[in-house]
């Protein structure tokens, strides 16, 4: 009997085309299993699926009382807090559309999004967000209510449209107790929801132009999430830490959709400062991070190991070497000599195991990285120590997945074969185009750009240039429009080179130029942590980032890094022409607040080229120095002007002989 019940449940499961329906399903099937945890007041508060269902129903009721109807938009802003996630589900329960926005977005950026989306209610985390939304709404006026999670500092606020979520929840509970139909009404709303409705609107930060609201349908989200949950065998026994920005598709996919589809528990950190510690406590089994996180982590690992004693350093180097030789093969279940296996096992005990433990990676079964290409060595490092790190390639427009690595067939040069139920084609211009279950409906209020992006036969243009290799795995070379040619006809894929540069711990960011020029050149951002540490060990004192960046010793070190990249490039037949001949180190860090990076920390190449035009000229006119003056935004929001004279330096390129040998 229990069996048939389970079968019925499984059959019914296939019909759940929205997240609120999934929530109800879990509340029935695994009522007492943990659904959400939050480190709060020092311990992990845990809510079971049935508790979550109750809260979401109450919230939905509260929203309804505030006048939310099917199709309305609700903005969500703040850190990863359970109540913010629940607000999304509550909105979906009523057929309204949650619009998560970046918590650190500046007011102007945010205004544009909120105006475009026409949100009726904003659910925000704390006083900081409340202040921001109140300010924006003075000009915008469309936000009728602002709901907040943390009441600290808000007791003085007299605004009538400012509401405490807890108060609303209490009121809703009272309503439910008084009037059973109130609850039933919400349940009816959930049942009335269909998969064709818009489930969420995610604003892409786009490398060019204004943000676009990507509308994703409920069934699309559910199907995409279900396909990949099956692909990686995710189950309700998995655990995960939600620490990525709510507004990013990665977070919505991994933490929100997957959790609902697979029924696993999502944990929210206590505060951004404790996220690393919280990660270690939770020990997730499923993990997702952009390459920059893995990179920062590896840099810190290397720095900390440099302070270790000689024996430990030797041991670390030795076993990392062993891992380099065998780790990947063992992870891919290839045949490995017994002795090497034993050697690796010893390394696991002494180095890899403990290392994964301190990083909080011990229990990870599947880890993904995406967002941009990851350095090969960086990727190999994590895989070699036994972390099943895989790449996926995706977009907001696809609800993340387009391709992803299969266990046992991981190749860092590629992003894997098409994900389940995804069709991919390469256009004549070399652009990757796809069709997938999670494909977006359209851009909100932007038919023109929707038409630009979606081909008449229903494929989505990714804007990326790529090729399939012999094994049927997709290899992304660069942005389709960024791939250029040098004057001598050699191929220049800037992103490809930048990623190689960034693998060096001293280099935090690099911008490569050269399209339509004689040779390739680079602007470098040093990594303050790594270089600062290096400076300390070499007794180099410096007063500022700018001073450190201009130090001759730093130039020397960066030059060596670039030259090693040049050697690597020389070995790639297609890229050998694009070796970097000249470079400079920027006097300031590229910053999203100055528009130089996107909110997801990608370089806006054309903007940078424009802003630093005198420097770019300097890179090509052979001068040894170049002057630059730029406007900057300081941390406290003030703006100012910074001017500097930067040194431009040359780097050795590998002679054609090597190139020929490689070819």
């Amino acid at each position: 009997m229990a069996n048939s019940e389970a079968r019925n449940a499984a059959a019914a499961y296939a019909d759940f085309d929205t997240f609120p329906k999934h929530l109800r399903h879990h509340a029935r099937i695994r009522a007492q299993r943990p659904a959400v945890r939050q480190k709060d007041r020092g311990i992990w508060r845990t809510w079971t699926w049935s508790q979550v269902e109750e809260i979401v129903l109450c919230l939905a009721h509260a929203f309804r009382k505030l006048g939310i109807e099917r199709g309305d938009r609700i903005a969500i802003a703040g850190a990863n807090r359970p109540k913010l996630y629940w607000s999304m589900t509550a909105a979906q329960a009523l057929g309204a559309v949650p619009v998560p926005v970046y918590a650190d977005a500046v007011a102007a950026e945010l205004t544009a999004i909120l105006e475009n989306a026409g949100v009726k209610i904003a659910v925000v985390q704390d006083q900081e967000q409340v202040d921001k939304f109140l300010e924006i709404n003075e000009s915008l006026g469309c936000i009728q209510h602002i709901l907040f999670d943390e009441k600290r500092g808000l007791s003085d606020y007299a605004q009538e449209n400012l509401l405490d979520i807890d108060t609303l929840l209490d009121a809703a509970r009272a309503d439910f107790a008084r009037d059973p139909d109130a609850r039933a009404a919400i349940l009816r709303e959930i049942d009335a929801g269909t998969g064709s409705e818009i489930s969420v609107m995610l604003y892409t930060s786009g490398t060019t132009g204004r943000s676009k609201g990507v509308m994703l349908s409920a069934l699309g989200c559910v199907s995409a999430a279900r396909d990949t949950a099956g692909f990686d065998n995710l189950s309700d026994r998995d655990e995960e830490l939600a620490y990525l920005p709510l507004a990013w598709v990665g977070d919505h996919y991994m933490n929100y959709a997957q959790s609902y589809v697979a029924g696993f528990c999502m944990a929210c950190p206590e505060s951004p400062e404790t996220a690393q510690q919280d990660l270690r406590e939770i020990g997730p089994t499923f993990y997702f991070a952009p390459p920059r996180v893995f990179e920062g982590l590896l840099t810190r690992v290397m720095i900390r190991m440099e302070d270790a004693g000689a024996i430990k350093r030797w041991m670390f180097r030795h076993f990392i070497g062993v891992a380099k030789n065998w780790g990947e093969k063992i992870l891919n279940r290839k045949s490995v000599p017994l002795l090497a296996r034993a050697h690796y096992a010893l390394g696991e005990r002494l180095v890899y195991g403990p290392l994964k433990n301190v990083l909080g990676f011990s229990r990870i079964r599947v880890a993904y990285t995406a967002g941009e290409a990851i350095g090969g060595d960086l990727f190999a490092f994590y895989r070699s120590i036994g972390l099943n790190l895989k790449q996926l390639y995706g977009q907001t427009e696809a609800f993340l997945y387009v391709t992803c690595h299969k266990d046992g067939a991981v190749n860092v040069e590629t992003v894997g074969p098409p994900a389940p139920n995804v069709t991919i084609r390469i256009s004549d211009e070399g652009e990757v185009q796809f069709k997938s279950p999670g494909r977006f409906v359209s851009y909100y209020k932007d038919e023109a750009r929707t038409a630009e992006t979606v081909t008449p036969d229903g494929f989505v243009r990714t804007g990326d240039a790529g090729i399939f290799d012999a094994a049927g795995q997709l290899r992304i070379i660069d942005r389709a429009k960024d791939v250029g040619k040098l004057l001598n006809g050699g191929l220049l894929a800037p992103k490809f080179i930048e990623n190689k540069l960034k693998f060096h711990s001293a280099i935090r960011e690099a911008v490569v130029f050269g399209g339509g020029r004689e040779y390739a050149a680079a602007m470098i951002n040093i990594d303050l942590t790594a270089v600062g540490n290096w400076a300390e060990r070499h007794n180099i004192s410096y007063g500022s980032y700018q001073e450190l960046a201009a130090h001759p010793g730093v130039y020397e070190m960066i030059q060596k890094n670039i030259e090693s990249v040049n050697e690597a490039l020389a070995r790639e037949p297609m890229m050998a022409d694009a070796q970097i001949k000249r470079f400079l180190i920027l006097h300031k860090e590229l910053d999203a607040d100055d528009g130089e990076l996107t909110r997801t920390q990608k370089v806006r190449r054309s903007f940078v080229a424009e802003r630093y035009r005198p420097l770019v000229e300097g890179l090509y006119d052979g001068s040894a120095e170049a002057d630059i003056a730029t406007d900057v935004t300081f941390e406290d929001g003030r703006t100012g002007r910074v001017s500097a004279r930067l040194r431009i330096s040359g780097a050795k390129t590998v002679p054609p002989a090597a190139k020929e040998r490689a070819a």
């Binding site: 992990w44 190991m305 270790a308 433990n357 011990s362 229990r363």
Partner: protein, 367 residues
Amino acid sequence: MFYREAGQFKTSYAADMAIFPIRQDRIAMLLLLAFAFAGVPLLAAFHVPPFNSEYLLRAIILPFLILSLAAIGVNVLIGYCGQVSLGSGAFMAIGAYSAYKFNTGIPGLWLPPLPTLASILLGGLMASIAGIVFGIPSLRIKGLYLSVATLAAQFFFDWLFLRVKWFTNYAPSGSVSAPELSFFGLTVASPVEKYLLALTFVCVFALGAKNLARGNLGRQWMAIRDMDIAAELIGIRPLAAKLSAFAVSSFIIGVAGALWAFVYLGSWEPLAFNIDRSLQLLFMVIIGGLGTILGSFLGAAFILLLPIALSQLPAAVGLKISTATITHLEFIIFGSLICFLLIKEPLGFARLWQIGKEKLRLWPFPY
């Protein structure tokens, strides 16, 4: 290196405040306890070396356990509450002689001979009362002045038990012998039985002391220790805090004294609890680590084993040295090691242990 803490998270305050919040620590502790309570007796029963040796149990492990218990008591006062006492030996003596009197009956007070357990605990209680009395000066006297003042207790009780014959039931030699040890009808006589008895006492008291130390009372003690004025200004009463530390400390020391006399020595004279004993206990807690229960054990092991090791050493390496010279050498090496440890790690073995554990937890990182 052995720690795998990823995934060990606490969902309640009770779990977060556990003595051993880390699973690996809990497992290690359980293994240790299982070995101590079941493994050792079994190994001894089957004559497995080295546990077949009566010497090991009777002359090394037994005194180690009992002195660890006393050191825990001393640590409560000095390590947690910051009140330095040089009179611990006296409180051991009070525990021993009171337990003896209760155990043999006090006709003057119409008290029949009491069972062993009750006698031992009452011995602790008497020590506790004496502790409170001699702790009263701590309200006015601080630091080294106090430590010297506590010597008054040491010398007074030394004298009392030597000169007042009532305490020794008028034994002509001044030496007294403990009657047979019996607990709820079970006789404790063999080394293994005595070992288990002492082990039980130590475990129960160590747990109790740890519980007190991490609760409200313990925090008050530490507050007084770290900054008594600030403690007073947040409402902690120095009188209550200090005297409670004296009472708890002396109780534990008194019980340890009774065990020392009844279980370890069997028959004893006041000399067993003189100033040297006080200094020995002081060394244990300082070398072991002030303000840690673990330190009490480490310190006791070190201070107890060092002289034994030193006296065995010349013979072991085949040196023929006169016994007088050996004694003097012991003095020198002991003193030098003390100084060396104080210089190298003033916070004691427990601190070293903690550093080592931290290293293992963060392995392969150095910090």
